[in-house]
């Protein structure tokens, strides 16, 4: 029973079908009518269930093919007649003639909007209708697609829409298709929007969505969407033309600022357009178009636009414009070449200006100084270093100002870009090292503020200045020259007691150490150590002397610096080391100290630097029975001379020299200081003139008067001070060169010893790399050193002259 029931159930439909198998035409008739109703939007009357069963029946009866073909031709006829006519009617002449001047833009727009909306509406309706039909034919689709022969009827229908509608000619006379017209209209609308008019964005979006849903072929590959194959290329082409044009116009008419802001606005607009009107997939492409046609094509020119380009922006601190510009350049070139180059040139230009004016200031002094020489009565000539210091301080301050400006720009306009940072660093390096005296200037600048005489500034200000001075260190290529200047300046500060404080000096050294490495400050630390040791020593000696005092009662107070010869850059010629004759009282103390010191440290040698010393003495002048006592600070040589006049009334220059053994040149300056310089004429000179001759006579000056009880006699600077300074500078340079030669030699040998064999290029590169922390070695110098090393048989040339190399010979 159950078996029968089962069988009956299986058989029943078959029987039913066999009954009406003849009837496929009439079944189709039912479906046909229903489908037409659907397309006429009358589907509410229809029974889906009944239609589905009909379609199912046909397919079961192997009439699927028949059904499929019939549906297809039905769709064709519907598209060709109903749908198409609705659209073609709207392709009005005003729309077709678009672009011509006769058509007013309003008319064109309305016609366009109507056309687009009709087309998209048709498409939307049609796809809904086809969707319904597809539902009815679901079984047919399942069978035929399962057999892999045919795509879904929905796909077929949309393909038909593409072929029969979009690809159809607008009218018989025109070869233009509806798709062409659609695209043209869309482009027109976008052009309108670009020129500032409002357009119906959702409408455009709808038509783009339509194009995105239609494919070139029934296989429906992602890349064959009509949007991608047809519209987008046209859109990009049109945009390319548009922006090419706009770029040229902007360049002709606008300034750099406008250009940049316009370009940024365009970028924003286009991405907005892609999101709201077109498709997101276009966004990167259209952005690339703008970047190429608008930005990359013109940016270099824009940067250099006279009057409004980067020069004006930087000069006027237009941070926002610069940031805009930076953003644009950054889009097209991560290496920022056009921007980098322009900024580099600007920095160099300003920097060279700074260099020039500083060097001018530095050399200016020679002019006003020359006439001054002839009038010795005008007071002590200003210290010749002053002008150098002024030039140096000005230069450093200008450089720092420039740096601060660019630091700000970098931070706020260039978004702390690493490439820009590097480029700015190079620019600064270039122009700073374009000033051959940069190391000296930096050192003079630091010297100026490390000296206690700059009292007009607060501690914090000085600190800040010193800090900023230190930042310049890293730009200097010739760090070895800086080292020797700083060393010299620092030695002077310490010896002359001019330094603000040793703590500041020490903190300065540690700052330098951070920037330049430990080796750099070794010598300077030696200076500090000596000064500190000397202080202790002075104290110890005082205790020691106090014990002797009881017996000898010396009136001389001694304070001294014991300086390690190798650490202090004090130049001493032989003549200066000659033993000068001290007044007996002083000589006694000197001997006593020597005894004390050598008793403490055996095997050392003390050499007295007479020219560095200073003495404070009390001098009493009697006139008209009135005695005035002054406390005078004088250089050691002056002291030696003045003390002579305790025992002598009158002495000639020659006699003085015999008595003191002071070198002639020094003695001349000494005598000028105490007998010629107008404010400190402690001695009378016969004949009275500026020049000092061997036969000149000197005597006590009873008329001497000074407005203060305590004053200082400055050693008259050498007449040829200026020239000497230049010579000193040459000397410093030469010493640095010799030093460099040794360093190059050592570096080459060290490298070759480790590597045994290297090509010429490699050896050059490695040598430069090793040395660049100290200075920028010249290629010629390295080559010369290599040559001498070959000659001295440390190295030999490799066998192949085409690929030059060297071998190390142990």
């Amino acid at each position: 029973m159950s078996g029968r029931a089962r069988g009956g159930k299986i058989r029943a439909p078959r029987r039913a079908l066999t009954k009406d198998d003849v009837d496929c035409e009439s079944v189709w008739e039912v479906l046909h009518r229903a489908f037409r109703e659907i397309h006429a939007r009358n589907a509410s009357q229809l029974s889906f269930e009944e239609l589905f069963r009909n379609a199912y029946k046909l397919v079961l009866k192997k009439k699927g093919e028949f059904l499929f073909e019939n549906v297809k031709s039905l769709e064709i006829s519907i598209l060709d007649t109903d749908v198409k006519s609705r659209i073609v009617d709207l392709a009005t002449p005003s729309l077709l003639l678009s672009g011509s001047s006769e058509t007013s833009s309003v008319e064109k727009r309305t016609a366009g909007e109507r056309f687009i909306s009709a087309l998209t509406k048709s498409y939307q309706d049609y796809s809904i209708e086809v969707g319904m039909i597809t539902d009815v034919l679901m079984y047919m689709d399942r069978i035929s697609t399962a057999e892999g022969r045919k795509p879904s009827i929905f796909t077929i229908a949309l393909g038909l829409f593409r072929e029969r509608i979009l690809r159809a000619a607008v009218s018989e006379e025109l070869s233009m298709s509806i798709l062409d017209l659609l695209e043209m209209t869309l482009l027109d609308m976008i052009a309108l929007e670009r020129s500032g008019e409002m357009i119906d964005r959702p409408l455009i979006k709808a038509s783009c969505r339509m194009l995105e849903n239609l494919y070139e072929t029934i296989t429906e590959e992602e890349s064959t969407k009509l949007y991608l194959t047809s519209f987008e290329p046209k859109y990009l082409d049109a945009s390319r033309d548009y922006y090419r044009n706009e770029g040229q116009l902007l360049l002709q008419e606008a300034d750099a600022t406008t250009f940049c802001s316009q370009a940024s606005r365009r970028l924003k607009e286009e991405s907005e357009r892609c999101q709201q009107s077109l498709s997101r997939v276009t966004e990167p492409k259209i952005i690339a178009v703008i970047e190429k046609e608008l930005i990359a094509a013109h940016i270099a020119e824009v940067i250099n636009l006279p009057g409004t380009g980067i020069r004006a922006m930087i000069t006027n601190d237009k941070i926002d414009d610069l940031r805009n510009l930076y953003d644009l350049v950054h889009r097209i070139d991560q290496r920022l070449k056009p921007l980098k180059d322009a900024v580099h040139n600007l920095v160099l230009e300003v920097g060279e200006e700074i260099n020039k004016s500083a060097l001018q200031t530095a050399s200016e002094k020679q002019q006003p100084k020359a006439p001054e020489k002839k009038e010795p009565g005008k007071g002590p000539p200003p210290k010749p270093l002053n002008q150098q210091t002024v030039a140096a301080v000005n230069w450093v301050e200008e450089v720092l100002k420039l740096k601060a400006k660019y630091d700000k720009l970098w931070e706020r306009a260039f978004r702390c870009d690493g490439v820009m940072e590097k480029s700015l660093e190079i620019s600064f390096q270039d122009f700073i090292n374009g000033n051959s005296r940069a190391p000296e200037f930096v050192s003079l600048f630091l010297d100026q503020y490390l000296k206690s005489n700059g009292k007009d500034k607060t501690e914090a200000e000085v600190d800040a200045l010193l800090d900023s001075g230190v930042t310049l260190l890293q730009y200097l290529a010739d760090k070895d020259i800086l080292e020797s200047y700083y060393h010299k300046h620092m030695a002077k500060r310490l010896l002359m007691n001019k330094t603000i404080s040793r703590d500041v000096e020490r903190s300065m050294l540690s700052k330098m150490k951070v920037k330049l490495g430990n080796q750099f400050t070794v010598k300077m630390e030696g200076l500090l150590k000596d000064v500190e040791l000397s202080e202790n020593l002075t104290k110890q000696y005082k205790d020691y002397a106090a014990k002797l005092e009881a017996k000898k009662s010396s009136k001389v107070d001694l304070e001294m610096h014991v300086l390690t010869m190798t650490v202090w850059p004090i130049f001493t010629s032989e003549s200066e080391l000659r033993s000068c004759v001290y007044p007996a009282e002083v000589a006694q103390v000197k001997e006593s100290f020597e005894k004390f010191y050598l008793g403490k440290h055996t095997g050392r040698k003390l050499t007295w630097m007479h020219h560095m010393g200073e003495a404070t003495m009390r001098a009493t002048f009697k006139k008209d029975g009135q005695a005035v006592t002054y406390e005078v600070a004088v250089p050691t040589f002056c002291m030696m001379v003045l003390m002579l006049f305790n025992d002598h009334e009158k002495l000639t220059f020659d006699e003085i020299q015999q008595l003191t053994n002071i070198p002639t040149e020094q003695l001349i300056r000494t005598m000028q200081s105490v007998a010629v310089a107008p404010k400190t004429r402690l001695l009378k000179k016969e004949p009275m003139s500026r020049d000092v001759n061997p036969t000149d006579e000197f005597s006590h000056n009873p008329d001497f008067k000074h407005q203060f009880r305590k004053f200082k006699v400055a050693l008259v600077s050498e007449q040829s001070n200026k020239v000497e300074n230049a010579e000193e500078r040459k000397e410093t340079q030469k010493k640095a060169d010799d030093q460099r030669g040794l360093l190059v030699d050592a570096a080459v040998v060290r490298i070759m010893k480790a590597r045994k064999s290297l090509t010429h290029q490699q050896l050059m590169t490695e040598t430069i790399q090793i040395l660049s922390s100290r200075f920028q070695p010249e290629v010629a110098m390295i080559k010369k050193k290599i040559e001498t090393l070959i000659d001295r048989e440390y190295l030999e040339r490799g066998p192949d002259p085409a690929n030059p190399s060297y071998n190390y010979l142990a």
Partner: protein, 269 residues
Amino acid sequence: MPKRKAPTEEASIETATVTKTKKAKIERRKTTTTTLHYSGTLSSGPTPVQQNIKKVFDSYRDDAVSEPDMIGTDGAMRYLSDLNVDLEDATVMAIFDLLDSPSMGEFSREGFTSGWTSASTPSNPCDTIDRQALYIKTLQSRLTSDPAYFRQVYKNAFKYAKPPNQRAIPVDDAFAYWDMFFRAGHSGIEWNTSSTKWMDLWTDFYKERVKRPVNKDLWNQVAELVKKTQEPGGEGLGWWSEDGAWPTAVDDFVAFVKEKRAVGGMDTS
């Protein structure tokens, strides 16, 4: 070309012949050379050719008693004139090179024998003065025709051109040899190209601007310089670059030539 061995290696050859096979690869000719040198101690006797060479050597010795293994200056002059060699000719340097002279105008027995032995072939032994003179003729033509050989002789000449115990050749001496090697008529390579008289320029340049004695490196590099200027297209100095490894004197010379050309409007192509 004969390749000379440093003394230490010869010592090892001696042991090699008795003990180890490691040195067995050494060519026969070298072994014979050494055996001959130590003829008193080793078993295999000298070949007839070597005996003849020995005879030639012996006949030119200055002082057979106090220096039995040397030909001094007088003997060398006699020998060279017997070979029909012009003393001003670069061939002289080729002979010194061939016979590994210890210094200018001297021949040692060892160098003389090994040089001529290596030059000899079974069919063509160089064991009489006439045969040697013939061989020297071939060397003379080789100097001009075989650049590599020329360079070998040139480089080796430094040893003979420099005063003993010094590192460099004085300028005038150096030019005497440069003239010999690089000017026409001395069997050397004439250092001229179609556009440029290089040797004249080099002489002017070096004597006016450098004036330093010529050290070995510069001596050798001049040979490279000559080669470079004579390569196709080398006249234009396009091969030169400031990054190159040339000695400073050559760098300066290139600048000198360029300057001259700029002023004189010479064709630099």
